[in-house]
């Protein structure tokens, strides 16, 4: 396979790069880990791109979420840098400060929620991500490969877990 990316791949990557970055932001707290994961996702997207067949019922974003989540969840790379429940990095704190600017919430409240999300399992994080991304249950079911009903049940459980974690934070 040629190492020269095609124009349509570049255009798709340009459009959906923020999506990939958000997946990395949710799964990795450390900046180096985040960059590693970003590169791995881009690499897998590029490898899978020739087999992507545009379909009227299947959105490109769904395909992208699948690959990004598959890489993030089943990442077979050795994870040795640090556990998922560590405190937030400086750049993440910077993002939080920016995100809460002009909102009704304090950065501390948002940081507590992020810390709680970090304590969730990789599978639970996938539900959180798709919820935050505003994906409908139908698409979530399609990406995850389970029933819509199961998505609802799991989503409810994840939210319950988060509430409990926030109480203990």
């Amino acid at each position: 396979m040629s190492a020269v990316p095609s124009a349509d791949f570049l255009a798709a990557l340009h459009e959906y790069q923020p999506l990939v970055r958000r997946v990395c932001r949710l799964y990795c707290q450390d900046a180096d880990d985040r960059q590693d994961l970003f590169q791995e996702i881009v690499l897998q997207l590029w490898r899978a791109w020739p087999r992507y067949v545009p379909h009227p019922d299947a959105k490109l974003s769904t395909w992208l979420y699948r690959i990004a989540l598959n890489v993030a969840i089943s990442n077979l790379r050795q994870r040795t840098r640090r556990p998922a429940s560590v405190g937030l990095e400086d750049d993440a704190a910077q993002y939080l400060a920016q995100a809460t600017e002009g909102s009704a919430y304090e950065p501390e409240e948002m940081a507590a929620l992020y810390t709680a999300i970090n304590r969730l399992s990789d599978v639970d994080k996938a539900f959180v991500l798709l919820y935050l991304e505003d994906r409908p249950y139908e698409e979530m079911a399609d990406i995850l490969g389970i029933t819509q009903n199961n998505v609802r049940v799991k989503m409810h459980r994840v939210q319950e877990k988060l509430r409990k974690l926030l109480v203990h934070t």
């Binding site: 923020p18 899978a48 992507y52 790379r77 995100a99 959180v128 991304e133 389970i146 049940v153």
Partner: protein, 214 residues
Amino acid sequence: MELNDLRRHWQQPEPDAAAISAAQLRELLARQRGGLVDKMRRNARLEMALAIVFAGLMLAGLTRTHEIVVRLCAVFSLILMLVLVYYYYRLLAMLRQIAEPGSSVRNHLVQLCAGLRRMFHFNYRLTLWVLPYMILLIYGFFTGRLLAGKATYTWQTWAMAGGILLVVGAVLQVGIVHVTRWYMQRLYGQHLDRLESQLHELEESAGPRSTADS
């Protein structure tokens, strides 16, 4: 603050999220490192190439000697090398399959778990068979030389060497079993355990939607 409250802030761009340029992408693809599967593919290709080279050497040896014992040993070594080449061919096909992340998360996890478990068992069985096969080959060679009257050693030496080979082989085999188990658990086992627990977590409380992806 709840998850719903975070939603409206979530999609804001990150401060360090500069768009990746075509040049950066080319550089990234050129030095692609990949994960464990890529490493396994590289190793499998290398080992397959070595097995092919040895198979070639055995074939060359076959054409250069007329001694029946040496030819038989070369044939059995060639068979072993061909089995290894076939094994690496299957391994590479399986790694290609499990490295394809375009299916749903559940299906990808199912494929990864099944693939890694199959590979785990296959690799383990192969490792267990290679040493006894090699010992039989070596011993068969010396027995053949003796039977052909071309040996410089006696039947007593042959029997003693056989005993030593048996004891050393048995000790080595026990060691290999333990080392192989430990190494494979270290290499694949921890990933397999993690992937299986993720699959279990995803599937708990309700069944999968379907095995096929839309």
